[in-house]
């Protein structure tokens, strides 16, 4: 009985918590990899967000409140991401969470957001499941998912390499499986032949043991979705072993970006991907964004930088539409929201929380992402498969 009363007393003390502040600064928690193989991606996320926050605060903030950011290192590890997210929600009491890169982290953080009754958005994660069968009412995605990238890339491949034999190498986790599955389906639907697939652990240092199966399969096209420093090692080693020139290398939008292209060097030339962004997009909004970004950080923005910049304007637009930062009202406002980004207009689909945006096939020519074709957002996004809400 004694224990019962203690439980009751302590539980009562708890019922009082849960209300978040509606005044003072709006706190945005950013859980993103600051170390490890995805540290470069986290850097772009941070740059994009910082730039947007500065612009927003200079113009008076959101709903008259200043925006404040708190960063935590995700280490591209779902376990770590969950603990950091809990800390941000429960100790720092953030209003909104973003920044997760690893798709597994994004899925796990979505669950944490649900249990803490807050909203979160990813600006980087590719896995289709995030806005598909593992969708969460508290998670939004402003960047393009694997399926959308694949649509644009497969469209290009059917023209340039009809009926090609394709080998797939992805990182061995949620994102790798999802990107390969998405591109495989899109490529096979357009007549390509799959000759094998293999998955390497995240943060793999030596890819040479994986080359045996690639040599044996002799593909015409090699698709990869490794990212960050992994791509640097993978593509460098491919060319060291003389394999790079034997096939056309294509891949996910995040594999080769402005962020890691310098480190990859010549091995990146000729790489083709389907992406929602290229620094070469010829609009005044993008030109201004690229110039401002370069002035602020002395580096080119990539898709992570631009999407992380965009998410702050997404939040701003939703909060101003809802007139509050209350979770439920904000969620309603975010659904179906249209907002402007350097990539153009994006629409947040209400049914699965996936942003719809135009997709491009881009090719690395002389260290720049040259746009070679375009697929409209509605055609690329595919059907809404989320059934949870």
């Amino acid at each position: 009985m004694k224990r019962l009363t203690i439980i009751a007393a302590v539980a009562a003390a708890f019922a009082a918590t849960g209300a978040y502040a509606q005044s003072g600064p709006i706190k945005i928690g950013v859980v993103t990899p600051l170390t490890g193989t995805y540290a470069g991606i986290g850097q772009q996320v941070k740059w994009g967000i910082e730039m947007a926050v500065k612009e927003i605060n200079d113009k008076g903030g959101i709903l008259g409140r200043k925006v404040e950011t708190i960063y935590e290192d995700e280490e591209a590890n779902p376990n770590v991401a969950v603990q950091k997210a809990e800390k941000l929600f429960q100790v720092s009491k953030v209003d909104f969470l973003t920044g997760t890169v690893n798709s597994g982290s994004t899925l796990a953080v979505g669950q944490v957001a649900e249990r803490n009754a807050r909203l979160a958005a990813t600006t980087v994660s590719f896995s289709d499941a995030i806005t598909g069968d593992k969708c969460s009412p508290n998670m939004f995605r402003v960047n393009a998912k694997a399926g959308m990238q694949s649509a644009a890339l497969a469209e290009w491949m059917v023209k340039e390499k009809p009926n090609a034999s394709v080998y797939y190498l992805g990182p061995d986790y949620e994102m790798g499986r999802s990107t390969v599955a998405a591109f495989k389906a899109a490529a096979e639907a357009k007549g390509a032949k799959s000759v094998g697939e293999v998955y390497a652990p995240l943060d793999n240092k030596d890819y040479s043991p994986f080359f045996g199966q690639i040599r044996a399969a002799r593909p015409q096209v090699l698709y990869t979705s490794v990212a960050g420093n992994d791509t640097v090692r993978f593509l460098s080693q491919l060319s060291e072993f003389g394999l790079a020139k034997q096939m056309q290398i294509v891949g996910a939008a995040g594999s080769v970006t402005a962020q890691n292209m310098g480190a990859i060097g010549k091995a990146a030339e000729g790489y083709v991907t389907g992406a929602a962004y290229s620094g070469e997009i010829d609009t005044p909004a993008n030109k201004k964004f690229v110039a401002d970004f370069k002035a602020a950080w002395k580096a080119d923005p990539d898709l992570y930088g631009v999407d992380s910049y965009g998410v702050m304007y997404f939040y701003k637009a939703a909060a101003e539409k809802a007139g509050t930062t209350d979770t439920d009202k904000l969620r309603t406002a975010m659904r179906g929201l249209e907002w402007q980004t350097p990539q153009g207009k994006k629409t947040m689909r209400a049914g699965d929380h996936q942003a719809i945006q135009d997709m491009y096939a881009v090719k690395v020519v002389n260290g720049k992402f040259q746009i070679i074709s375009k697929v409209p957002g509605e055609a690329a996004v595919g059907a809404d498969t989320c059934t949870k809400f």
Partner: protein, 297 residues
């Protein structure tokens, strides 16, 4: 027929040669580990961190303008000093207690934890990829292999042979083997056992450091680099027989070839559990490993 030859040439040959490079690298790590165990009965849990320290010393010196080739000679000397000090100041503290097996294991484990964080503090958490000292690739029978990996095979083999000569063909090695066989007898015959112990530990640590410098251009340098490799080295030492140099060489070559060839048929991510499974099997049915330990034939 032609197709078979082509498969052998373009699929198997590069896999075998690349496996050889990895094998030599693993043997270099395993040698130090097995020599330390053979003589001192110490399971050096910090061996991977000594390897990392060697690599970090290497990139620091190269950044200061020292040539890579000078580093190959310089780093092992520095590491030997560090190893000697570690043995005298740490291992000896618990060496004469009843639970020394477990206590030395725990001490080196503690050292490993500290070292990993010290690397993070000093160099940051992100990996460095040093430039290859021998860039480019060579074509052998139509197969392209990076020059540095070929160099690694040659240099590693030379080091392994040198270690073998030191241990089995010099009076220094004879003292070590005598001390490993019977400490008290060796001592009464005038072998300075204490110094032989510290010297052997230093030698093992120097080998780890040398591996670090040699492997950095392939595997990059980062705080947890020791952990990735040490498991493989442990498997080699156990399968080869704790304390056996010959066993480590054989096991190192066999296990890495198993990994390399099996990677053609199963996903390479399963090659690690395969090798660890073989290690567990050996511990179960033949804990003495393939060959007897140092000083025992």
């Amino acid at each position: 027929m032609n197709e078979l030859i082509e498969t052998l040439q373009f699929v198997y040959a590069p896999q075998v040669v690349n496996g050889l490079a990895i094998g030599v690298a693993v043997i270099l790590m395993a040698l130090g580990l097995t020599i330390i165990f053979g003589l001192l009965d110490v399971i050096n849990m910090a061996h991977g961190e000594f390897y990392a320290l060697g690599a970090y010393l290497g990139i620091t010196l190269v950044a200061k303008g020292v040539s890579f080739w000078v580093c190959l000679a310089l780093v092992p000397v520095v590491m030997a000093g560090i190893g000697y000090a570690t043995e005298r100041m740490l291992i000896q503290r618990v060496f004469h207690t009843k639970d020394r097996h477990i206590l030395t294991l725990l001490l080196t484990f503690g050292l490993a934890i500290i070292a990993e964080d010290v690397f993070k503090l000093a160099y940051g958490p992100n990996p460095y990829k040093p430039d290859s000292p021998i860039p480019g690739a060579s074509e052998l029978l139509g197969v392209i292999l990076p020059n540095y990996r070929l160099f690694l095979i040659a240099a590693g083999t030379a080091i392994i042979v040198a270690v073998w000569i030191v241990v089995y063909r010099t009076s220094l090695g004879a003292m070590v083997r005598a001390a490993a066989f019977d400490r008290h007898m060796a001592s009464s015959l005038g072998v300075p056992v204490e110094r032989v112990y510290a010297g052997t530990f230093a030698f093992g640590v120097a080998l780890a450091g040398l591996s670090g410098v040699l492997l950095a251009p392939i595997y990059s340098v980062f705080p947890t680099m020791g952990k990735d490799f040490i498991l493989m080295a442990f498997s080699v030492v156990i399968v080869g027989g704790m304390g056996s140099i010959k066993g480590a060489v054989i096991a190192g070559l066999v296990l890495t070839q198993i990994q390399s060839i099996s990677s053609l048929y199963i996903s390479p991510v399963w090659s690690d559990p395969l090798v660890f499974g073989i290690m567990v099997l050996f511990l179960m049915v033949r804990p003495q490993g393939l060959a007897g330990r140092l000083g025992h034939g």
